[in-house]
Symmetry: C2
Subunit: 467 residues, 2 copies
Amino acid sequence: MALTQDFKKSLYQSLYKITDGNATIAPEELCCYAYDATNQMFMPDVVVFPNSTDQVSEILALASNEGIFVIPRGSGSGMTGGSLAVNGGIVMAMGRMNQILEIDCDNLVARVEPGVITGEFHKAVESKGLFYPPDPASSSFCTLGGNLAECAGGPKAVKYGVTRDYVLGLQAVLASGTVIRTGVRTAKGVAGYDLTRLIVGSEGTLAVVTEATLKLLPLPESVKTMAVLFYTIDEAAEAVSAIIKESVVPRCVEFLDRSSIECVKDKFNTTLFNVDLLERIHAMLIIEVDGSNQVTQEDAQKIRDFCMSRGAAQVIIAADSNQAKELWAARKALSPAMFKIAPNKINEDIVVPISSIPEMVKRIEQIKKRTALSIVSFGHAGDGNIHCNIMYNRQNEDEQRRAQSAMDELFSHTLELGGTITGEHGVGITKIKYLPKEIRQNEMDIMKGIKKVFDPKNILNPGKIFI
Amino acid sequence: MALTQDFKKSLYQSLYKITDGNATIAPEELCCYAYDATNQMFMPDVVVFPNSTDQVSEILALASNEGIFVIPRGSGSGMTGGSLAVNGGIVMAMGRMNQILEIDCDNLVARVEPGVITGEFHKAVESKGLFYPPDPASSSFCTLGGNLAECAGGPKAVKYGVTRDYVLGLQAVLASGTVIRTGVRTAKGVAGYDLTRLIVGSEGTLAVVTEATLKLLPLPESVKTMAVLFYTIDEAAEAVSAIIKESVVPRCVEFLDRSSIECVKDKFNTTLFNVDLLERIHAMLIIEVDGSNQVTQEDAQKIRDFCMSRGAAQVIIAADSNQAKELWAARKALSPAMFKIAPNKINEDIVVPISSIPEMVKRIEQIKKRTALSIVSFGHAGDGNIHCNIMYNRQNEDEQRRAQSAMDELFSHTLELGGTITGEHGVGITKIKYLPKEIRQNEMDIMKGIKKVFDPKNILNPGKIFI
């Protein structure tokens, strides 16, 4: 949709008016809203910054009348291009709607605007002794609105579930500008169809969320962190499902493969880790348990005994929060450290059943050999969610081709093992061609039908999810 | 839709053929599939008993071609008429599809057919050390398919959530006969729109579920049951939200008001309960905590101390499972005992924010006075889900009118306090006229649009949810 300069200018003026001056067409500003974590860039025609549901509604009504695309955007930290203006149009940046409207300690419920930074929301509820478990790696800068759009997860999903499990109700604006309210502000509620969870994870294609009612939990009294080193990946994977079956559900079970350990070799605190062992192990788990002081002590010891009896090479239980940070240090350093291997990466968040992790890791090894590329796997082993990073150099056409072929094969194996191509990043544009491998035509037709009900003119974040 | 005798006969013959003889038009058999727990009766034209997804698909394709209504049915234990053939048509009884197809202990996942009895599924997974928390009061005879249709809850929802939180994926058949597969069999998955949770709770109006993939948990090592007696309802309600905030999340917090206690006065084990106190208290909580042996011991003591410091009259912690049964006895006897008061009841499953329970109870007292009817309230206080039973005599027209007016007022107050008209029973036919008080036209339009996408000819369970 190429807009004429005149039209663009008049559109900008209308948006400027609706938002009391909070719109821009200056190229140097537009480009700040053109990228996301996929490292791709698409220039929007205009960027607008609404600060109320009414403004969002007016903007959408205008866009709907004119047939202009609208792309809602949080912090642009998405991994699959969900917030990119791939066909131009209006980027609606939600950052000004960043108020925590209410934290209700009696009913364990919060009301928030979409532009609230996830990490700031964590701090706000924790200061009141409450807990919001969804915790994507980008929590220090991503927004709750983006988390809702993608149904973000993170490491604590193994015990606490994902974003969808914490959304009780929404206020959202349809493509036409119509404001809807879904769900409830109570723990239970089954009146009518579940529009709330339909909108969550719909990647901004069904409606623009302007307010969410979120469920909170009491903050656990204590957290214990431990690192477990295994000689083989099989032992590590078996330990993961065995631990959970043994009635201890850790809040995280993070996993690093040999390549990951290599990447961050210099980040391990050698007063805690045995240097010699670090050279010989093929998998590391970082496990956290939470609950009362006593419970976490006992659970950590149970997990240690259990892992040792299953062939673990070493188990380190953090004595305090500083040591816990040391145990996490290597894991946290991974993302930047990978660029030592190659300048570009494709980060895919596949999920397989926990018991298929060893098989998946073997198949990834084969892909590595076949494509002669480095592939670094780590992630949330507790729920089978492996972040698989294919490292390559985009300038090298041959490497780029091999990376593409590695990705194709990765998804085929994932689906063959009963998994899914995306656990928490969404489909966006980067997985769009793979979606039909997972979702058949029958289901796709229903999804497209639903899209039409919400957005008959297809103006809301077009070009995402569906081909 | 009145079918001619000839048409009915030929329809019956087609269904007989599809299901190898598992269909009936005999009135004495039809009437067994005409009722549910609402005590209303609507005769179907035919009842068919498919035993495979293929048969369900063939039946629906036939019905769709002929424009015949199809009403899916589990055990007929629904409280709002969801399985009633209000406009005649084919009742599709799912009881023959009652296989537990798989219990995967490594990945904590089960695959089931819809006709599995919930209580039998509980036993099957528990025998493997696993746990499926949703637990409606009818679990000894209701089916998992019915639970999915209504998004059933039960007492353990306060800690463990409701049916929707345990459904990972579905196989379902659309009105046209088209088979769809939704969701995943892993803990995470965000590929495409969330059709799974859209179908859950849609009361059989969107698709007929023929297989569900359910998430399981490890079975807690131990459960501790306690009864807490309060002089006032306010103290009881305040204790509930305070307990949860104090980092102890019990797995149930059941609540009985003064009328409930009166009803089952003779069911209390007087070696455990103080008879004198039972006359003076206005609320009783039955609380269960689960976890390791040590945790449940500690949590029970914490809750006892906490309740005593907040004015509880007595706290009884069951020493063993027999005593636990004694504590539950009065609660379990409630439903039948209520009929001592009046021959008919309207059982509404309203939900209010926990902190509004005292106010709601006060308003229920006012409704009682105004209508001069007995109203017995009990339920799942931990999630604000109050089962409010309006007792009356259906033969007495005046009482019937007053019961109706009590119900109208009950729902108004519920919504005014930020609640919902149904926590777990669904809308069906009995709440259909109240739904527009909770769901506005904008959202209703979207829901009706979705219904049309799934079932353009409106043959699947028509006359439910929407006016």
